[in-house]
């Protein structure tokens, strides 16, 4: 799909050189079938904010030491209680931070509009629909400016590993690799990266004119880095690539040490795990033995089930306050992920982070099925919460919290994904097991 680069609304800051690169990315003879024209929407004012955000990331004085509350926290709490309908409902801001009730994905999933501050203009609203790896599908409201702020965070994370994301005009900086049945794909140009390219591709053969084009196109792009998840990198490593990136950045799912080692061996570069959520953007980067928190205006706590702060060295639920998305100011938001909080100098660390393990299911013909595809096909059913387990004999056990409106449709959807003859047991349950967090997808052999 081409043509988006002629639209100034989609690329307000596109330069001549950027335009040429975008055209090249669309017209390259080995380019994939993009499902989306690509857009950036970042304005000059937005770019200024991203630069200020980047400068703040580089300033050491705002880091947090053990037990300290950051200066911005009090004002953030007061603003939330004054300006955000969801928080305002419970009265005025508590004088003590520990008295603020926690929020969770279910709150946000139910009414995302109630988290938008009254003072926030709605122009250029962007919606990200997430598949819900912890069981609650979610619409995240955001904006091109915070989305562009992912880049300075990525730069900071890479710099911690000695990798410099340069972002030269006229070259491709980042390729986001997916391996799914279907997903949005696009080519874009980033003013934050000095008009360098940012491309999202899907390694599903259906997205390409010929399967051999994948490696040829990626070699032609020769990106500085690849981003993606462990499943897509496993697929990427099967391609006969001639070029090598400076680094590979893994997000969205847990990157197991063995898999990281194999990828590092294969690509000959650092493989960097970033803990990131749609609600917050990139939170922390793996460095040596723990995840180091990246954001300066994200206050992190680790809480037990009752909301009490966990003592040092004790696992609890990662709970965040703040963030850089003006459509979603967070107050004690339970992430569903578990870790221990630690401090090293001015660095905040998450140790033993239990994220979302990737699961590859097996279809009736033996074909691999990414857990993201399962989330995607089930999304229209608006299930409150569910878990899917594949037994050793490949039969599936789907457990759904509460009543299922249309069980026949649900069965049809799953069987069309896995293949005719797939055995499926569907169970309605009052509650799903919560051992730490809900393990939404699992297989007997994983």
């Amino acid at each position: 799909m081409a043509g988006g680069f002629h639209n100034k609304n989609l690329f307000p800051l596109l330069s001549e050189e950027g335009h040429r690169l975008l055209q090249w990315l669309h017209e390259h003879k080995y380019a994939p079938h993009y499902t989306h024209p690509g857009c950036d929407r970042l304005t000059a004012e937005g770019l200024e904010k991203v630069r200020a955000f980047e400068a703040e990331l580089d300033s050491p004085q705002q880091s947090r030491r053990n037990g300290e509350m950051p200066d911005w926290l009090k004002e953030h709490v007061e603003t939330c209680y004054r300006d955000v309908p969801f928080y305002r409902r419970s009265g005025s801001a508590p004088s003590n931070f520990t008295s603020i009730p926690t929020t969770n994905r279910r709150d946000l999933s139910r009414e995302p509009w109630a988290f938008v501050p009254d003072s926030q203009p709605l122009n250029d609203l962007v919606i990200y629909q997430t598949s819900g790896t912890t069981g609650h599908p979610l619409d995240v409201l955001t904006h091109p400016t915070p989305l562009a702020m992912y880049l300075p965070l990525l730069r900071t994370a890479l710099a911690m590993h000695g990798v410099k994301l340069e972002g030269h005009c006229g070259r491709v900086s980042i390729i986001l690799v997916c391996f799914q049945k279907s997903t949005y794909t696009y080519a874009s140009i980033s003013p934050v990266l000095n008009q360098a390219g940012l491309v999202k591709i899907n390694l599903n053969p259906a997205d390409w004119r010929d399967i051999s084009h994948m490696a040829k196109f990626l070699d032609a792009c020769d990106p500085e880095i690849y981003t993606g998840d462990p499943i897509s990198f496993a697929e990427l490593s099967r391609l006969p690539l001639q070029t090598r990136p400076k680094a590979i950045v893994s997000t969205a799912m847990t990157l197991l040490p063995g898999r990281r080692h194999r990828l590092e061996q294969h690509f000959g570069c650092p493989v960097i795990d970033i803990y990131s959520m749609n609600e917050t953007g990139p939170i922390a980067v793996w460095l040596r033995e723990a995840h180091v928190v990246l954001q300066k205006r994200l206050y992190i706590e680790v809480l037990d089930r009752d909301g009490f702060s966990c003592p040092s060295g004790v696992h609890g639920e990662v709970t965040v306050t703040g963030g850089f998305n003006p459509f979603l100011p967070l107050l004690k938001y339970r992430t569903g992920d578990w870790a221990r909080l630690a401090f090293h100098g001015t660095q905040v660390l998450l140790e033993g982070l239990e994220g979302r393990p990737p699961v590859i299911f097996r279809g009736r013909r033996g074909q691999p099925i990414n857990n993201i595809d399962v989330s995607t096909v089930l999304k229209p059913l608006l299930l409150v919460q569910y878990s899917l387990h594949q037994n050793r004999d490949d039969s599936l056990h789907l457990r759904v919290h509460g009543r299922i409106q249309d069980q026949n449709r649900l069965r049809d959807i799953i069987i069309s994904l896995f293949g005719e003859g797939q055995r499926l047991f569907v169970e309605e349950v009052d509650s799903l097991p919560a051992a730490g967090k809900i393990l939404q997808y699992s297989r007997d052999d994983e």
């Binding site: 520990t98 709605l122 997430t130 409201l141 989305l147 696009y186 997000t251």
Partner: protein, 195 residues
């Protein structure tokens, strides 16, 4: 409102001077510090009644802090009000108090932030008159008609404000939902990594 109660001004002044302990955060789960059930229990005992049962106490400490906090804050302020010597000396309202705090007072707390019943003169007066009415009392020196009329005026003004605020909030929510529907058809801006 059949019986004549205390002077209105004495009670509104008492509310205005509500000590910080009664304005502190009620304990709900891990949040807050003030054990509301204990405060209520002490008050009922001081008014000549039996302390709360365990089951009754639970209602003042458990639940969703996002929903229950404002109610419990208003319960604390109301407990301070009922500690006035006029009520303590008569020891007549202990039996009604639990039902009042868990019933009608919940409705009052649903629309207005608890601290406004201390900081705003009209809300102070509304709270005092509301409490008296629920105990079948009226301010000293007022007729039933006067007391009913004044409470209705205060409540109506507040109700109008609440309705206006609710309407504005709903309009804003609708505008966001409509923008979401429009934007869902568009494509999102590029993102460098996924979640």
């Amino acid at each position: 409102m059949k019986m004549e109660g205390p002077q209105l001004e004495i009670l509104t002044r008492r509310v205005a001077e509500c000590p910080v302990d009664f304005l502190a955060e009620p304990r709900i789960g891990a949040a807050g510090s003030i054990p509301v059930a204990a405060i209520v229990s002490d008050l009922i005992r001081d008014l000549g009644g039996d302390p709360l049962t365990l089951r009754q106490s639970t209602g003042f400490s458990k639940g969703d802090a996002k929903i229950g906090r404002n109610h419990l804050r208003l319960v604390l302020i109301t407990c301070w009000l009922f500690h006035d010597p006029w009520f303590l000396n008569r020891k007549e309202c202990a039996n009604l108090l639990y039902l009042f705090l868990t019933g009608p007072l919940t409705d009052l707390s649903a629309t207005t932030a608890a601290e406004k019943f201390v900081s705003e003169p009209d809300r102070r007066e509304e709270l005092v008159r509301f409490c008296l009415k629920e105990l079948d009392l009226r301010p000293a020196g007022e007729t039933i008609a006067q007391a009913q009329d004044r409470l209705a005026t205060l409540s109506t003004a507040e109700r109008r404000r609440v309705i206006r605020a609710a309407r504005e909030a709903e309009e804003r929510a609708r505008a966001i939902r409509e923008a979401m529907v429009r934007r869902a058809a568009d494509e999102a801006a590029a993102k460098a990594s996924r979640e």
